[in-house]
Amino acid sequence: MPTNAAEGGESQGLLPIVPFLKIPADGDPYIDGARCKSCSAVFVGERETCSSCGARDKLESIKLSNDGELYVFSIVFRSFPGIEVPYVSAVVDLEGGGTLKGNLIGVEPDPEKIKMGMPIEVVYEKAPRKDAEGNEYLTYYFRPKA
């Protein structure tokens, strides 16, 4: 199972790579989102005001799905110093709403092998980088569904 690294409490003690990745003390990590009760727009992360309809205090907190579909991608061969290449940068539409950007793993970095529209899942793993104080982080990736 690809989520092994984050299960059995292994995500405990790790810091979230972004604020919208939540690591509950008793449960699996998830992507936090918000849905507008006025216009149904779905956002990644917490919000107080809806940027679709402008409604204030109408946003409810939701867990976003770990299932989704690859919308588009790019294969990145040149990045900043210290960033390992190549990697696949992907935009994924989640089931039930919300669009997320991240790395697509478990595929060859070859445009012929990556199909836009293919089903993917969001998986959670320890990030291969530490901060200046030595703290470790939990990140998410996209992986094609078997």
Binding site: F43, S79, I83, V85, S89, M116
Partner: protein
Amino acid sequence: MSDVYVIGIDMIKFGRFPEISVPKLGATAAHMALDDAGLTINDMQALYSGNLGQAAAMVGQRILGEIGQTGIPVVNCANACATGATAFREGWMSIKAGIYDTVLCVGTEQMGRGLLGGGGGGKKGIPTEGLLGSGTMPAVFAEAGMEHQRKYGTTFEQFAKVSVKNHHHSTMNPKAMYQIETPLETVVGSEMIAYPNTKLMCSVNVDGAAAAVICSEEKARQLGKMDRAVKVRASVLTSDPYQERNLQMPDVNTCTQRAAKAAYEMAGCGPEDIDLVELHDCFATAEILHYGNLGLGKAEDAGRMIDEGETALGGRVPVNVSGGLLSKGHPLGATGIANIYEVCTHLRGEADKRQVEGARIGLTHVIGLGSACAIHILEKTD
């Protein structure tokens, strides 16, 4: 409200000038535009200055420090890659409003080399680049291009042909950074930066400056400048409205479509009346998107349009005959005014080897990611 006319406009040759200060670059272009208009800084009632890299450093006032501190009002603009066009539009609005009748607009930029965008991490945490996808500009515009491929089947070679075309155009533009033919095999064979954008499908980071003197119709007639004046028939600025994906994936399409619609309405013309276009080819993928966005053809026909040379010099609607950002270069704050310079040069019949014959109406387009879209429609004066 008075019509607004460009009576003086010019740009410096784009290149790398690390030894020249930003205000000095802007001052050089300002002097060139003033000379083109046959006026001096003492005739200018306000300065609208566009610069991104030193947005907090009063570039406009420092330009006046180089060319004449006349005490006129200065507005410093920053709007990503739409910065120069935004400064021009601020000047246009001031004349439309009847506040001034003659103003100077300058766009200036000094660029480093290398990738723009990305990074992440901030003060705390770890960098997200390469873990949560890529925020680099080549990748962001690669993804925008892949959306076009997903919808319309546009191919890597079709994207690459944009670069072949624009590099060919720049061989006829002495003010472009490069004047080098780059055949298709060279473009597709150059280093892959972010598929499908190779290095030669990325715009060139250069230093540059461009400037325009604009005035009311009454002033242009009073000064006897109507023979080379260019009429601003439309000036439009938009931001991107809410879209399902645009907080994660910048949308350069909707703001362009909306700006184009508003600009055609303001100008009282349609895309079929446009004789040449300078559009925001920050990456080869981007140019393809904007054929449909600007109504130059149907979105699904964009690949065919580049295949059949419809947007090359001599084609149905020539696009980026200056060489575009891909080969002329892209000094962010200067680009918006440099595009207007290119179109004015054709409308004045002064574009030499790359002249679009009989050009009467031209359109300029820039996108600042985040997003801002500015469109101007310009017309030759009889």
